[in-house]
């Protein structure tokens, strides 16, 4: 098991390096094809002199000649960057702040958002899915199915935009008047992120985006539970004279968790997608907003570091998911 984890981690590291190289190559290509971002440092419609541009290029490491040769993968830059990463040096962003600070700020916020999203998925998805499977073919099933599909069809950003622009301020005012502006409820409905109350102010957006994903989660749970309800061992459980409740929880749920947990890695990636605009709209300083702004500014150190963190996240979650299988399914053993 320990050796398995170590070996998996080594592979993950390789995957990470390759993924980073893909991103590195994409950013290099974009500079080679579309010009470097030095020009954009000079705000207003003012043309800087070549000397000024050069100074900026030197300062931000954009003076490497390979960035002028279309198609050159700039391996030396890549190697240097990865070497720096291994010493914990993530470089500086184009505002000369340590990228590490950006990450230290963004990661917890995104994780908070995810916590609410995942909780929503799990709580609603599992409950709805199990009920729908158990009541399969009856009105309850159709009701759950239709309402989750409907919910899933709402583009999540639509929900967030509507919430922020239409609902948040009145709700905040309402609860503020009722319980005081610093009451939990009032703070929860702050229209944009509040660094002083990070958990409260991401709760609603997290739940909203989570609700949209409940659709797929319910579907998955339902299918998985249905599959297990048909299984022979459920018949055995019935023949043993077990109560329905015990049967569902002991003999169906745990078995159903196996396929459900497989999907968690996939969901994580989807969640990151949700993070980009949720964070953008709600002004949450998380990974999504960070990478979005960074790619706008071609802030390569930030782009690379953010992708690295996101990739590490995905890899770690996948590893955890794999290990979780073994918990849910004793047939799986890792050597």
């Amino acid at each position: 098991m320990g050796r398995y984890v170590v070996r998996r981690l080594l592979v993950a590291l390789l995957t990470l390096f390759l993924a980073l190289f893909v991103i590195h190559y994409a950013t290099s290509l974009s500079i080679q094809a579309g010009g470097d971002p030095a020009r954009a440092f000079f705000s207003a419609d003012r043309t800087p002199t070549e000397s000024q541009l050069d100074a900026v290029r030197t300062k931000y490491g954009l003076d490497n000649p390979c960035l002028r040769q279309l198609g050159n993968p700039c391996v030396d830059m890549y190697v240097e960057r990865v070497a720096n990463y291994s010493t914990g040096d993530f470089g500086e962003n184009y505002n000369q702040q340590p990228v590490l600070d950006d990450l230290a700020q963004a990661v917890p916020n995104t994780l908070r958002l995810f916590a609410f999203m995942f909780a929503t998925w799990l709580i609603f998805g599992l409950t709805f899915g199990m009920i729908a499977a158990w009541r399969r073919g009856r009105p309850t099933d159709y009701g759950i199915r239709f309402s989750t599909i409907l919910l899933g069809a709402i583009p999540p950003f639509l929900l967030i935009i509507t919430y922020k622009f239409v609902l948040a301020a009145p709700l905040r005012s309402y609860f503020g008047d009722a319980y005081g502006r610093d009451s939990m409820l009032a703070l929860m409905f702050k229209p944009s992120f509040d660094p002083d109350n990070p958990w409260l102010s991401v709760a609603i957006p997290g739940i909203l985006v989570g609700l949209v994903g409940v659709d797929a989660f319910t579907r998955l749970t339902r299918a998985s539970v249905l599959e297990n309800l048909r299984a022979d061992y459920v018949r055995t459980a019935k023949a043993k004279g077990l109560r329905t409740g015990r049967m569902m929880i002991v003999h169906v749920l745990r078995n159903s968790m196996i396929p459900i947990s497989t999907m968690i890695g996939v969901y994580l990636a989807a969640a990151l997608a949700g993070a980009v605009f949720t964070e953008g709209i709600m002004n949450i300083r998380g990974l999504g907003l960070l990478i979005f702004e960074a790619s706008r500014e071609k802030d390569i150190p930030v782009i690379m570091a953010t992708v690295a963190i996101a990739a590490i996240g995905v890899l770690v979650v996948n590893l955890i998911v794999d290990l979780m299988y073994a918990v849910f399914d004793p047939r799986i053993r890792y050597e």
Partner: protein, 507 residues
């Protein structure tokens, strides 16, 4: 009452929003508005601009010149940086040297390019580390320019010319995170990047523009109008509404009392690519300009946030003449006539370029629609991100009229003419080489006094108004609503379109 509600020092706390994270808070490296707002509170410079955009002494006791080439400035004594260092001539000299020194890559370095010795500080390995034309002696700062220039003093109110403490120059990084200013406010803790900036009143400040509140918290947003939801929930004290909310806010009986709205000197115009044969016909350009109903465009795209531009330099600035551009009025008939006379091939599609931004899209879609409606020109919008857009226009790669804007570096009509349309000017992206125009400019440059020069510049503007190399569209108008926490009388605008945060007073 206070917006924060829960804070213990109820009165005197302000909550502001910044539309973006300032890239830097080192004065010579700060050229955009968000950084300037913070610097305007934390620093005090030699001059400040009054409502008429005239430079007034702030820390400067006097400024003198004989030949418009060598300028001597006496600095008031007794001012201190937040860390206790004195604000002397040396403080200015070291800041400007830092800004001009190319390897520091300060974005405001171009402000110093008229000072003698600037050229030696450029390049990868500059010959000099200090500006040869700068001399600091106690409280006396002597500046020698490359060439005489009457307008020099008008620039000095700008952020780039603020002083810097020695400690700040030694460790600019630390100074960026917690600026060591000399202004009415100072940092309360460090700059929380991309989150917030908290300022507290600097009780030791001796300048005239002391602030009337104790604390200012700036929430950093991602986007100008993003503060609006928070303004509505009373978490922010001043905010400009997004376009979509303008109509509602303006008509809100509660809110409309608390609106401040004033035009600024920020120009949006349509650059004509006269390097392209298709656009070399003057009549065509005039027709375009006449065909645009500027009021309508503003109504659609930027209601309450702009006024039609009918001149090249703003009338509010020295030298500006209202309505100097006669082709800038809306006259569809005349436009059509001129257009028909012009060389534009029938049915040719025109590209209109702009840099990615929702507001720009609305503006140029509306402009295109006007042209289509009034002249029958088919158009296509070409949108680019900031740097590819600049790269393309710099290199004359735009295949159609393109969006341009201009914020003045100093309040003078010249600043809207020479740096944009002058022969070989860095911002002349049109391929325009106007002999008469340049002659006029040279003449004005050589004028004895500023006033004299201004008039000749205005004549040059007339030439432009005939050529229509750029088609002025609108002057930005700053319109903000403020909360009940703010004394309405204290809300004032800089002519450049910024709230004067230092003047605000709690209600």
């Amino acid at each position: 009452a206070c917006g924060g509600g829960g804070g213990e020092s109820a009165s005197g706390d302000m909550k502001f929003g910044l539309g973006a994270e300032p890239p830097s808070l080192i004065p010579p490296n700060t050229t955009e508005s968000e950084g300037s707002i913070i610097l305007s509170l934390t620093y005090a410079g030699l001059f400040d601009y009054n409502e008429k955009a005239e430079a007034e002494n702030l820390l400067a006791k006097s400024i003198e010149t004989k030949d418009n080439k060598t300028w001597t400035i006496e600095i008031e004594d007794g001012h201190k940086f937040h860390n206790g260092e004195p604000v002397d001539a040396e403080a200015f000299k070291r800041a400007w040297d830092w800004g001009a020194y190319a390897p520091n890559a300060a974005t405001g370095s171009y402000f110093f390019d008229r000072i003698k010795g600037f050229a030696d500080m450029q390049g990868k390995k500059p010959k000099a580390k200090e500006l040869a034309g700068l001399k600091a002696d106690g409280q006396t700062l002597t500046i020698e320019l490359d060439k005489p220039w009457a307008g020099f003093s008008t620039m000095l109110g700008y952020t780039a010319f603020l002083p810097m403490a020695e400690e700040c120059v030694k460790d600019t990084k630390a100074c960026n995170d917690k600026p060591i200013g000399n202004g009415p406010m100072k940092f309360d803790g460090k700059w929380k990047h991309k989150e917030s900036i908290s300022l507290v009143k600097n009780d030791k400040y001796k300048g005239p523009n002391k602030v009337k509140y104790d604390k200012a918290d700036f929430t950093i947003y991602d986007g100008d109008a993003n503060c609006w939801a928070d303004f509505e929930s009373e978490d922010i004290d001043i905010c400009s509404p997004p376009v979509e909310k303008w109509e509602g806010a303006k008509n809100d009986p509660d809110l409309k009392e608390r609106l401040i709205s004033e035009p600024s000197t920020s120009l949006t115009y349509l650059g004509m690519p006269v390097y392209d044969k298709a656009f070399q016909d003057k009549k065509l350009r005039q027709a375009f300009s006449l065909a645009i109903d500027r009021e309508k465009v503003i109504d659609i795209a930027t209601p309450g946030r702009a006024v039609p531009a009918t001149e090249f330099a703003p009338p509010s600035l020295p030298g500006g003449v209202e309505g100097a551009c006669e082709f800038c009025k809306f006259d569809a008939k005349e436009a059509k006539k001129l257009f028909e006379e012009s060389s534009w091939p029938k049915g040719k599609k025109m590209e209109i370029w702009y840099n990615a931004d929702p507001t720009n899209k609305a503006i140029f879609e509306a402009v295109g629609n006007q042209l289509k409606k009034n002249l029958g020109v088919e158009f296509e919008l070409v949108v680019k991100d900031w740097d590819p857009f600049l790269a393309a226009t710099d290199k004359h790669k735009a295949k159609g009229p393109f969006r341009m804007g201009w914020l003045p570096d100093y309040p003078l009509n010249e600043n809207y003419l020479k740096p944009i349309y002058g022969n070989g000017a860095a911002n002349n992206r049109f391929g325009y080489e106007g002999k008469d125009f340049n002659k006029k400019l040279a003449e004005a440059d050589a004028a004895k006094t500023l006033e004299e020069g201004m008039e000749i510049y205005a004549e040059a503007e007339k030439i432009l108004a005939e050529e229509m190399i750029g088609i002025p569209l609108s002057w930005a108008k700053s319109s903000s609503f403020y909360s009940e926490n703010i004394d309405p009388k204290s809300v004032k605008y800089f002519p450049v379109g910024q709230i004067q945060y230092d003047k605000l007073a709690p209600a």
